[in-house]
């Protein structure tokens, strides 16, 4: 199961976090700092999977943006690694410039994530279907 997904910038600031397992709000910042520190300190040639406490981190870097996913041992690391890429490609398809756009459209990023992952499980991987609700919303907003 997927435990959480974080989007972090190079300075280690969390840009977006999504938890699928109950973590107290007070504990999230320290968890995020710790998780991010581990991933940011790794070099390019090091492997993208990190053992962390009783679970694993899978991370992937896109320019100044890091995406970190915490998973239990029932998930397949490589498939999560590519899920991240699939997600980024969806963002890419929707926003013209991902890194700066997501900051100003976090709500839409949330909608996209919700279409891909629900309750910690992969629910949809088809890019067109992932974007369908968002495009429908945009249409509604325009029609208003």
């Amino acid at each position: 199961m997927i435990k959480f997904l974080l989007m972090v910038n190079k300075q280690g600031q969390t840009r977006l976090s999504k938890y699928y397992e109950q973590v107290d709000i007070e504990k999230r910042p320290s968890l995020e700092t710790d998780v991010v520190k581990r991933c940011l300190s790794r070099k390019k040639e090091e492997c993208s999977f990190v053992e962390y406490k009783d679970f694993r981190l899978v991370y992937r870097q896109y320019a100044a943006l890091f995406i970190v996913v915490g998973i239990s041992d029932t998930e397949n690391e490589l498939s999560i690694y590519e899920l991240v890429h699939n997600f980024v490609e969806v963002l890419d398809k929707y926003f013209s410039r991902v890194v700066s756009s997501i900051m100003f459209n976090l709500d839409k990023v949330h909608i996209i994530i919700d279409e891909i992952i629900q309750n910690g499980h992969i629910v949809e991987t088809n890019k067109n279907r992932i974007l369908a609700p968002l495009l429908a919303l945009d249409k509604m907003a325009e029609a208003h």
Partner: protein, 962 residues
Amino acid sequence: MPAVSKGDGMRGLAVFISDIRNCKSKEAEIKRINKELANIRSKFKGDKALDGYSKKKYVCKLLFIFLLGHDIDFGHMEAVNLLSSNKYTEKQIGYLFISVLVNSNSELIRLINNAIKNDLSSRNPTFMCLALHCIANVGSREMAEAFAGEIPRILVAGDTMDSVKQSAALCLLRLYKASPDLVLMGEWTSRVVHLLNDQHMGVVTAAISLITCLSSKNPDEFKTCVSLAVSRLSRIVSSASTDLQDYTYYFVPAPWLSCKLLRLLQCYPPPEDGAVKGRLVECLETILNKAQEPPKSKKVQHSNAKNAILFEAISLIIHYDSEPNLLVRACNQLGQFLQHRETNLRYLALESMCTLASSEFSHEAVKTHIETVINALKTERDVSVRQRAADLLYAMCDRSNAKQIVAEMLSYLETADYSIREEMVLKVAILAEKYAVDYSWYVDTILNLIRIAGDYVSEEVWYRVIQIVINRDDVQGYAAKTVFEALQAPACHENMVKVGGYILGEFGNLIAGDPRSSPLVQFNLLHSKFHLCSVPTRALLLSAYIKFINLFPETKATIQEVLRSDSQIRNSDVELQQRAVEYLKLSSIASTDVLATVLEEMPPFPERESSILAKLKKKKGPGAVTVELEDGKERGELNGGGDRGGDAAIAASNASTPSPSADLLGLRSTAPVSGTTPSAGSLLVDVFSEAGPSATSAGVNDDGFLSSAPPTVASEDPAPPLPESDELLNKFVCKNNGVLFENQLLQIGIKSEYRQNLGRMYLFYGNKTSVQFVSFNTTVSCPGELQSQLNVQTKTVEPLVEGGAQVQQVINIECLTDFIDAPLLNIKFRYGGALQNISLKLPVTINKFFQPTEMAAADFFQRWKQLSQPQQEAQKIFKASHGMDTEVLKAKLLGLGTALLENVDPNPENYVCAGVIQTKAQQVGCLLRLEPNAQAQMYRLTLRSSKDTVSQRVCDLLAEQF
């Protein structure tokens, strides 16, 4: 929060947010917020009915205020009202508020549930999804009660939209995880399983998460999913990369779905149906073949997706562990990855190979990659990859390559990362012991360990080397010589001084013949280190000195002088001071004989499983070692180091105990079991002071036996075991003492004690008649397999048993590995000329070697989960054959030998226990859960352990007890 865009702009909200952002101080912010709260409150209370837009705006503001960290105590009603709006955005904000701020206000819950119900039946897919997400987000019991019945219907209905089905599947999964008792699949099971056949891949992707969870909990009910999953997988695997259109990712058809299907299959053993199995093997072969094909794209995404499936397929092959051909192919494939330029692949390959190494079919194939793995250990730039390489070396180690692997690990230790040194040290120590053919190699290895990584050598490691040296006299001389040489180094680690001090104190005499290591040289060498050491080490050295006085009288004067010096006898540390004073006194008062007795060589330690292993398990968790559970307390026995030695020393100097045994390390020696031999002729049951009532009940039972089987069997061969012997055996599963057997002539009582993997049993044969038994002879035998599993030793008894007298027989038992059968006891004697020949089963059952393990709830459930493979579990559901009294149940569970864990199971009616079965070969961790159902007078007993035979046996034994 919705974007502030042209059409849907909530200008008021935007203004409010920017106001807050512009606040210069916390006080200003609070002031602004209070003003806004007052405003919203008045709007909500006002006479004028608010329109949907305003309600949405104000509820949004409340949400924002709440997210800033302020309490919100109103607005719930307005949010609930929004739920019934027909506008998507209003409904959405309503649900968002409910999801974030719901409380158990019953009045409100009813209204919310109503709104959800309406949306669920609205046939508007967007609304249905919103409602399902809300149920999943809240996931409360009330919600589950209200909707757990409805959602499966939505999930399987033919006219439900695909996106709604996806949400319904995951919503149901959430409810099932939160309140499994409320989600009753029953009639829906088959239709849910058939979602695997759904045309829509997204629906399959979502449903498979649900099915995997349900299958792992109720494998039998869902087992039809295996064939469906196989056929689905087969269709995907054999499809062309364009067939699945949008579900194809970089030319790989549906990689995520394939992984999930393969993962689902890992909940089950290999399919029994030949056709299904054939199809699955074909799929797995295709996946392996594809790995060899040229890539369809140069993009890393393509190979990653392909390899994700490949690794999952290999996991399944390892899980089945039954297809040698596939296992070897998997191993070869992983072997290729070991040299791949992608770090991720090397990492995963090393990890996967680690599990492959434990399969008998592929162990040899894994071993062929040893050079590559060693190379990885030396050259990988990423510490986590190196660590995997070390794990794999550990896993692939056996007698044939132990020396090479240990040598490589030792040399790696010199440069190893600090974070993994301790673990490496433990692993080297374990391998060195496990595969030591000659113990001098073992001693060398451990001393090297201390030299290279002394700081990381824990007490367990150096205790263990001492234990082994003491128990094996063939290595003592070598050990003395080696430590002596090691201590020559100008700077040696304190652990080396400890080992050196102990070993020279015991066996320094073995090298004293050489003038280069004469007693005085040895002493001076040790003493040169003394001042650099910590207090516990100094204490140990002082004990070594007094042993020197005994071993080498010529050193007495020198050592006494040292002891007498102010720095010892007036040492500010009480322990050191006391030792100095007492040893000095002891050496000057006691005669040589007394001294020789007091300071005698240490007796051998009882053989037992290495405590290092327990330590490694503790560090690493299961998986890294073959045994799954550690006993946190085991090291307690070996603990104590120098300080306990003080007690022994004091005892020695006071000469108050008859056998002070100079317990240098405070290690427990093989003290004889303190069984009191009752005087002959006394009433037999007196022996079993705590077994009064049970002894009588046994007696009652034996009357029945007498009528059914005549006591005379006229054959010299051991009789076959009595038909009742299994029943008699069962009586002793949860107790150690009592009457095993009784007839008109003979009564046999048992008293037994177990510790670690050793047991001692006292059998008392009582002659109930007034006439003597002649040619009385008893034999204990281990039939069949048991011979290699139990080591049973006993002495013969006197052939004559006087009338009314009782003879005692001691049986020593060593458990080598887990076993099922019980040893047979045959008793033959002549009574008035007639040969009596009786065979019984000795009540030695596997649970006797349990060591209780205390653990907290979190640990328990974590381990419980780790032991989730079907074969690790044994379960029985049976009717209560005795009363279900709590105290009796507890007593029985404690009698089993496990620790009864309180406050672990969420249901207070249930019992959970944990223990480790100690055998010479390994330790087997066992977890137990007993769920009584008083109403139905039934029990459900579940056993999980790292070894299937153990789970089954303990389950069988215990099921007879209630």
